[in-house]
Assembly symmetry: C2
Homo-oligomer: 227 residues x 2
């Protein structure tokens, strides 16, 4: 397995996680903080973000603080969007100014659920990441972290997160940085996996991994072979 990352994570980098009190956001924040990356959790409720941040700082020994989503967006150099699909567009449309010039990492999976499990929802712009790019023309939008299980991320017994992270985007510097961020987490590896126009299927594939999880009682991830 070769190093699929670009350079490492700059020491002074601050990563904001919007939706940082939900399982996915909280789990990613935990892993970034444990890897020595400075993290600002964002949430609709700044108090709740602060409480979760304090828990994560205590659990990881890392530098984690909390704020409302706007404050977190302002504080982050890289801003991870880990909010539910419902509300995704509205939140981002209101943060265009705060997110201008920044690397915005969309990890939202537009999925529906019924008795037969999960399925991909149609998205007018093609994908959640393309919606973000349309709403944030001054930001550098990257799609990543769709497939990693929140249960695994949040499990303190899991020392290495056994999955590759598919990183998509049209800005090479931005995708390199997000690959490095992913690869900073023990076990994880950021792998470039195409342009933003090919984000839909990466988001939608989460529905398949949910099917895998049901069938095999697993928390499935993906590894890209021959890379």
């Amino acid at each position: 397995m070769t190093e699929a990352t670009g350079a490492g994570v700059p020491e002074e980098l601050t990563v904001a996680v919007l939706g940082g009190t939900g399982p996915q956001g909280r789990g990613l924040a935990r892993r970034f903080a444990a890897a020595g990356v400075r993290v600002v959790l964002g949430s609709r409720d700044a108090g709740r973000a602060g409480a979760t941040a304090a828990d994560l700082a205590a659990a990881t020994g890392g530098d984690v603080t909390g704020d409302d989503n706007r404050g977190a967006a302002r504080a982050g150099d890289v801003v991870v969007v880990a909010v539910p699909w419902d509300g995704h567009g509205e939140l981002l449309a209101g943060l265009r100014e705060e997110l201008a010039g920044k690397v915005v990492v969309d990890c939202v999976n537009p999925l529906g659920f019924d008795k037969q499990g999960a399925f991909a929802l149609p998205v007018e712009e093609g994908s959640a990441a393309q919606q973000a790019a349309a709403l944030l023309p001054d930001s550098r939008v990257v799609a990543a972290f769709h497939h990693v299980s929140a249960v695994v991320l949040e499990d303190p017994e899991v020392a290495e997160v056994d999955t590759d992270i598919m990183v998509l985007g049209d800005d090479r510097e931005a995708t390199d940085l997000v690959q490095a961020l992913a690869s900073a987490v023990p076990g994880m590896r950021g792998v470039y996996a195409g342009r933003l126009r090919n984000a839909h299927q990466v988001e939608a594939l989460t529905a398949n991994l949910i099917s895998v999880n049901r069938r095999y009682k697993a928390h499935a991830g993906l590894r890209v072979t021959d890379v």
Copy 2:
């Protein structure tokens, strides 16, 4: 890594490969034959199918014969559809009777290509596999073998094909059989990955693997972790 397969491949099973003289079909046929599975190659041109079959039989020591697509469809218990997307619907519509009651394995990726690489084409039925299911109401349609590189399949130096095969379908017995067929090939493993309604993103993900291959000069495959 647990055994994700169902039971093994029945000894008397015949696998037909439509489009068996193209790289993907020929590569899959080679691996099935080498694994001891009886194979009938189908092609528009029966003579060409026969010649390719003779080559594969000599190369693998397996039981490989050739016929036109109709004759192969008639001969197979499991019929793998490895034709180009352009012509997929027309071919299947003409084989409804021959394919009735059979397990039809669609491995077609509806992709377009331009200067920026590959991208997913829209499919009215949702996916190539769902188009097959719509055209073949009397068959048991399974989607599988989308991501495995033809170059790897055809390379006699490659002893083990390092990839999992995502197997999708709504008929448990059929998906179990196709998982077993995939797992009969050294290195490969069939993993159940959802219902046919979630086939689009699995087909479309091939565009991302093409991006991976370009960036890393690789022949990428996928492994599902924790299964």
